[in-house]
C-alpha cells in the first residue's frame, strides 16, 4: 500500500497545478488518471485548440498548457499512475484507503478529486447483445494485435484509430471497415492507403452502414450490418473492433457517499472540501454558488485545497503562509539557491 500526504484523482490542468501547490508547501502527492497520458480534456479533447483565458498567457493550445504545467512540476517528485481508474474509497481510522481498477492501493489522509466531468471511457456499440462478446470478440482498444492473425476483423469507425488499424491489420487479417457515412475524418494519407488497399481487395469497405446485431452461439460468428436505407448485410467475422472515441463518465465517484449535484460535487469555498472530511473536489467537477468552469478557477481551488490538506497530513505542525519569492524553504524545495 502506497502512503502519501494526498492523492489527486485526475491529471488535467487542475490536478497538475494542485500537485504543484501541495509540493510547494512541502506535501507529497501521487496522481491517478484513467487516460494513458497526462493532460485530461486539454490533451484528449482539444490539444490543438487555442485557449485565450489563462492569466498572463495570451494564447496557448491545450497541449502547450499541459507541457508547461508538467514542466512546472519538474523540481518535484510526483508519481503518476496512468491508465488506472479509482474504484474504491473507504475510510479506515481517519485514513482514506483508495483502490484502483489495477489493484494499486493508497493510504492517505487527503483525497483531491480533480476529475473534470469524470473519467474517459470508450464509447460502445449500441446493441445490448454486444456486451456478452466484449473483451472476447468485441474490443474497443487493442492490447495484443497477434490474436487477429489470419482471422476476419470488422472495424467500425471513421477516425484515425479505425483507419490506422484497418491498414495495419490488413497485412495479416481479412479486414472489413464499416462506417456510418461516406466521409472519413482521419488523416487523408491514411485514407488514401485504405482506398488503395480496397482496390487490391485487402480491405472491404462498407459506408453508410452501422452494426445491427452480433450473431453467434456463445462465440461470435457473424454480424448483421444495416445500411441507412435499412438494407441488411450479414458478414462472417471473428472479431469486431469499435473506435467511436471516448465519453466522460462520473463512474464510481457516484458511490463514495459525496453530495452530488447533477454530475458535480458540492464543496465549501474555504477548503473545497466535500461533505466527507479529507475529500476535496476542485476544477470542473466541483460545484458551489458562483462556480465558473474555467481553468483559472481550478488553479485557485487547487491552491486552497492543498493548504487544507496540510492540517490532516501534518497534524502536529502549523502551516505558515509563505511566498515563493522569499521563502528559503520553498526555494529549497524548488531546487533553487536562496540569496
Amino acid at each position: 500500500m502506497i502512503k502519501t500526504d494526498a492523492l489527486i484523482i485526475g491529471a488535467g490542468p487542475t490536478g497538475l497545478f494542485t500537485a504543484h501547490q501541495l509540493n510547494i508547501i512541502g506535501l507529497k502527492c501521487e496522481v491517478v488518471d484513467n487516460l494513458d497520458k497526462i493532460g485530461g480534456q486539454c490533451i484528449e479533447l482539444y490539444p490543438d485548440k487555442p485557449i485565450y483565458d489563462i492569466p498572463a498567457v495570451p494564447e496557448c493550445t491545450g497541449e502547450e498548457l499541459t507541457k508547461n504545467l508538467i514542466n512546472q512540476l519538474k523540481p518535484f517528485d510526483v508519481k503518476f499512475h496512468l491508465k488506472e481508474r479509482v474504484d474504491e474509497v473507504k475510510n479506515e481510522k481517519g485514513q482514506w484507503h483508495v483502490k484502483t481498477n489495477n489493484g494499486t492501493t493508497f493510504s492517505t489522509p487527503n483525497v483531491i478529486i480533480a476529475g473534470g466531468v469524470g473519467s474517459f471511457e470508450p464509447r460502445k456499440f449500441t446493441p445490448k447483445e454486444c456486451e456478452q462478446y466484449e473483451g472476447k470478440s468485441i474490443f474497443y482498444s487493442i492490447k495484443d494485435k497477434n490474436i487477429f492473425k489470419d482471422k476476419t476483423v470488422s472495424i467500425f469507425g471513421g477516425g484515425d484509430s479505425a483507419l490506422d488499424w484497418a491498414v495495419e491489420l490488413s497485412t495479416n487479417s481479412k479486414v472489413n471497415l464499416i462506417h456510418r457515412r461516406e466521409e472519413f475524418r482521419g488523416a487523408q494519407s491514411t485514407l488514401d492507403k485504405v482506398y488503395e488497399l480496397e482496390k487490391e481487395g485487402r480491405i472491404n469497405l462498407f459506408t453508410k452502414y452501422q452494426l445491427k446485431i452480433p450473431k453467434g452461439n456463445g462465440k461470435l460468428d457473424s454480424i448483421d450490418i444495416q445500411h441507412e436505407n435499412k438494407e441488411v448485410k450479414n458478414l462472417k467475422t471473428d472479431y469486431v473492433l469499435g473506435f467511436f472515441g471516448l465519453i466522460m463518465q462520473l463512474g464510481p465517484i457516484a458511490n463514495w457517499g459525496l453530495n452530488l449535484n447533477k454530475k458535480t460535487i458540492d464543496v465549501d469555498t474555504e477548503k473545497f472540501e466535500t461533505n466527507q472530511k479529507g475529500i476535496y473536489a476542485v476544477g470542473d467537477i466541483c460545484s458551489y454558488p458562483g462556480k465558473l468552469k474555467l481553468i483559472l478557477s481550478g488553479f485557485h481551488e487547487g491552491a486552497l485545497a492543498a493548504r487544507a490538506c496540510f492540517k490532516l497530513a501534518r497534524p502536529n505542525e502549523k502551516y505558515r503562509f509563505e511566498f515563493t519569492t522569499s521563502s528559503s524553504s520553498i526555494l529549497k524545495r524548488l531546487g533553487k539557491k536562496s540569496d
Partner: protein
C-alpha cells in the same frame, strides 16, 4: 419567444420557451430537461447533446457546422436526422421545433 419541444426516449415531452440567440442545447440545460448532457459546454468537442430532429424540421434549421459530422460519428446511435443541439440556433423561424432525444448520450 420561440417554443421548442424535447421528447425524451421514454416518450415524455417537454415544451419550453427559449430565448432567441441561444442554442437548442442551452434551452434544454437551462430548463433542466433530462437527456442532454453537454459535457463540453457547447464547444462541439464531445457529442453529448445529440438529438434527432423531426424530419419535417430537418431542412428548416441552420445547416451543420464544419466538423459537426465528425463529432456525430462518436454519438450514441446516430441516424440521418442526427444533430448536435449546441449547433442549432434558436430563431423565430424555428418556433415549434420538435427534437427527439436518444436513449442515452
Amino acid at each position: 419567444m420561440p417554443k421548442i419541444t424535447y421528447i425524451e426516449n421514454n416518450g415524455k415531452s417537454h415544451t419550453v420557451e427559449v430565448d432567441k440567440g441561444l442554442t437548442v442545447m442551452e434551452g434544454a440545460v437551462q430548463n433542466n430537461i433530462p437527456g442532454i448532457d453537454a459535457d463540453c459546454g457547447g464547444s462541439m468537442a464531445c457529442a453529448t447533446c445529440h438529438v434527432y430532429v423531426k424530419e419535417e424540421w430537418y431542412n428548416r434549421i441552420n445547416g451543420k457546422s464544419e466538423g459537426e459530422d465528425d463529432m456525430l460519428d462518436q454519438a450514441y446511435d446516430p441516424n440521418k436526422f442526427s444533430r448536435l443541439s449546441c449547433q442549432i440556433s434558436v430563431t423565430d423561424e424555428i418556433d415549434g421545433l420538435v427534437v427527439d432525444l436518444p436513449k442515452k448520450q
